[in-house]
């Protein structure tokens, strides 16, 4: 079982890969709309990659209103 820290790190790595950013350039508290300049639709695209990685299904409503990696990792953690 992963710890929340591990999950958070994996989410950051996946997001960096997805948006072609250098590893380590994202932090847990980053607001992904602001930091990555993406919209809610692009967030949904990133989610599919995350789902496949963790082998879970995150309904769209789980990520409603989530705008930072830490909260996103918590939502994922609760489904692991």
């Amino acid at each position: 079982m992963r710890t929340l820290e591990q999950t958070t790190q994996e989410v950051l790595d996946l997001a960096a890969t997805h948006f072609q950013l250098p590893a380590g350039s994202l932090a847990p508290g980053d607001d992904f709309f602001k930091k990555l300049g993406i919209d809610s639709l692009q967030t949904l695209e990133m989610l599919s990659r995350i789902e496949n990685h963790f082998g879970i299904e995150l309904p769209d409503y789980e990520v409603q209103g989530v705008s930072d990696f830490k909260t996103l990792a918590e939502r994922i953690q609760s489904r692991l």
Binding site: D31, F33, L41, L44, P59
Partner: protein, 570 residues
């Protein structure tokens, strides 16, 4: 299609439709690659009757209000029909609002029944606002896990009555739905939409974009939104068509749905349409040079052949691969909720995929104008729909003035807000707050907004008054949030921004600390509601006798500043 002129209410029309089209498929619900459910009109009726009877047994009666807070799915429409059948008034709420905002609207609407999904209820049930909605007697939640704590709610799936429900007739003038056009922090604006509003709107829209059994409409816009309620529920149901729901709106699953379900119509907000355009353009650009030139030549031929009107048969043959990606049977993409840039509309039209763009607002019963494609005009929002009288009030020398509308589709008024209603509807004409002009061919061209509101590309209405709550107790003398366009009219319907106007205390400086405080508060807002800059004004804001800020007077004062230098970025 049913002859809607002979019906008094949504419930009465739907009741007949369910019998007339009993064997047709009305709903398909899919979750990712799995098809969860497929219902005929007969099965839909059986499900809805169980719920309707249980509602009646629980005391739900004519004129009572029931709210639905759900993502798009079969149970949304089943619940809505049960409410109409029993003579109730539907209060569709946005599932994307925060729990406290939802409670505020539940209270404002005096809903006695709430139908929602378990994950939404989990958040709603523990929110502080719950105590506010005292009228709420029955709460039904769908898909609750077996051992879930329902916190006073009941399971939708088990809420079934025995025997047949009694159909309760309503009149055309009665309120069918209370639709919140926006407004949560300040004054909720609940548009009272009558049965007549919907019946008339449905006749007008289907005269241009018809439905029939076999048509498949992909429902992506939230059903609480006026557009999806009409073209993703009432319209297709009165014509025996099929509505396809997706439980996830991930782009890859939406893409798959087109060929899988042979979609005929879909409604999108401009933002999604633009993303679709970007994706397609990237694929075209990635073609090898020779193929790309050949493809561009085909698009060129298609443009010439479809100049006067769409010719779908020809476009589908010429640009086969593009059309196959959309399932090969797409008749039109309906775009609404916000302004769409002409270049995006033209892009799709040139590919032989007509985009039915138009203009409307909840208060007017969805659409006021729609592009009739005779011929297609990307630079306008089309001509008024049948039954719509549209005029330009106080036009300037270039013909631009405020767009106003008179029609049987215009709402009865705002719930509990006679003053707001009197401002919005003057002598029977709805003042839209949008600026525009008619061109020589009778097409409406929009050119800006008069009211202190912005509409995002995602189709969200934002009233600056609603944003101000998070800036309460900001260390400054006073502040006010504006749509930048309202202060400095740009004659533009896109890229609108919110700004925070600050009057600092005497001797106070705009420090980095204050900037950080504003940014931190800004982050509590959903991303599309955030302010983008600060304007410093070193004078007292004009106020009314009751000390409310005179927004229009302050805006006039601010307009004398140069927007290029006055707005400090955050």
């Amino acid at each position: 299609m049913l002859d809607l002129s002979k019906y008094q209410s949504i419930g009465e029309a739907l009741k007949d439709a369910l019998d007339q089209f009993a064997n047709e498929v009305c709903l398909i619900e899919a979750d990712r690659e799995r098809e969860k459910e497929r219902l005929t009109y007969r099965e839909f009726k059986a499900r809805a009757h169980l719920l309707a009877k249980a509602l009646q047994d629980a005391g739900f009666a004519a004129g009572d209000r029931a709210s639905i807070i759900m993502t798009n799915q079969s149970k949304w429409l089943i619940s809505a029909y049960a409410i109409f059948l029993t003579g109730g008034t539907l209060v569709p709420l946005d599932y994307k609002l925060t729990p406290d905002e939802q409670w505020q609207l539940l209270k404002h609407s005096s809903a006695s029944v709430l139908i929602t999904e378990y994950p939404i209820w989990r958040q709603l049930s523990v929110a502080a606002g719950r105590t506010a909605a005292a009228n709420l007697r029955t709460i039904l939640v769908t898909e609750a896990p077996a051992n879930a704590d329902l916190a006073g709610a009941r399971r939708w799936e088990e809420f079934r009555g025995e025997g047949e429900p009694i159909f309760i007739p309503r009149e055309r003038k009665d309120t069918a739905c209370i639709v919140y056009s926006s407004g949560t922090g300040g004054r909720p604006k609940g548009c009272m939409m009558t049965h007549e509003n919907y019946l008339e709107q449905c006749v007008a829209l289907t005269s241009i974009y018809p439905f029939w059994p076999g048509v498949r409409y992909l429902s992506i816009l939230p059903t609480n939104h006026a557009i999806d309620f009409m073209v993703g529920f009432f319209g297709p149901f009165t014509c025996g068509a099929t509505v396809v729901h997706l439980r996830t709106l991930r782009p890859e699953y939406v893409r798959e749905a087109f060929p899988k379900y042979k979609i005929t119509y879909v409604s999108l907000v401009p933002l999604v349409l633009k993303n679709l355009q970007k994706g397609l353009q990237a694929r075209f650009d990635a073609l090898p040079t020779g193929k790309r030139m050949f493809f561009n030549a085909l698009v060129g031929i298609n443009k010439v052949l479809t100049k006067r009107r769409p010719r779908l048969g020809i476009s589908r043959r010429l640009l086969r691969q593009v059309h196959e990606a959309f399932g090969g049977e797409l008749l039109a993409i309906i775009v609404g909720g916000a302004f769409t840039e002409p270049q995006t509309l033209q892009f799709f039209y040139d590919l032989g995929i007509p985009v039915a763009n138009g203009y409307g607002l909840t208060e007017a019963g969805t659409a006021i104008t729609v592009n009739d494609l005779k011929p297609f005009r990307a630079d306008t929002v089309g001509k008024p729909l049948p039954g719509m009288e549209v005029r330009i009030v106080n036009p300037a020398s270039d013909g631009v003035g405020e767009v106003s509308v008179r029609s049987k589709t215009v709402m009865a008024g705002y719930l509990n807000e006679p003053e707001l209603t009197a401002e919005a509807i003057v002598d029977g004409w709805l003042m839209t707050g949008d600026l525009g002009r008619f061109d020589a061919t009778g097409h409406l061209q929009l050119s800006g907004r008069k009211k202190n509101m912005i509409v995002t590309e995602e189709g969200k209405n934002i009233y600056p008054e609603d944003i101000e709550a998070v800036f309460e107790s900001l260390p400054a003398k006073e502040f006010c949030v504006y749509a930048a366009n309202y202060i400095w009219p740009k004659r533009s319907m896109v890229k609108e921004k919110l700004v925070l106007v600050l009057h600092l205390e005497q001797g106070q400086q705009f420090t980095e600390h204050l900037r950080q405080d504003i940014n931190a508060r800004n982050h509590r807002l959903l991303n599309y509601k955030r302010v983008h800059g600060v304007v410093l004004l070193d004078e007292d804001f004009p106020r009314t006798a009751s000390l409310k800020i005179k927004r229009n007077v302050l805006a006039e004062r601010l307009a004398s500043l140069d927007s290029a230098t006055a707005v400090l970025p955050l």
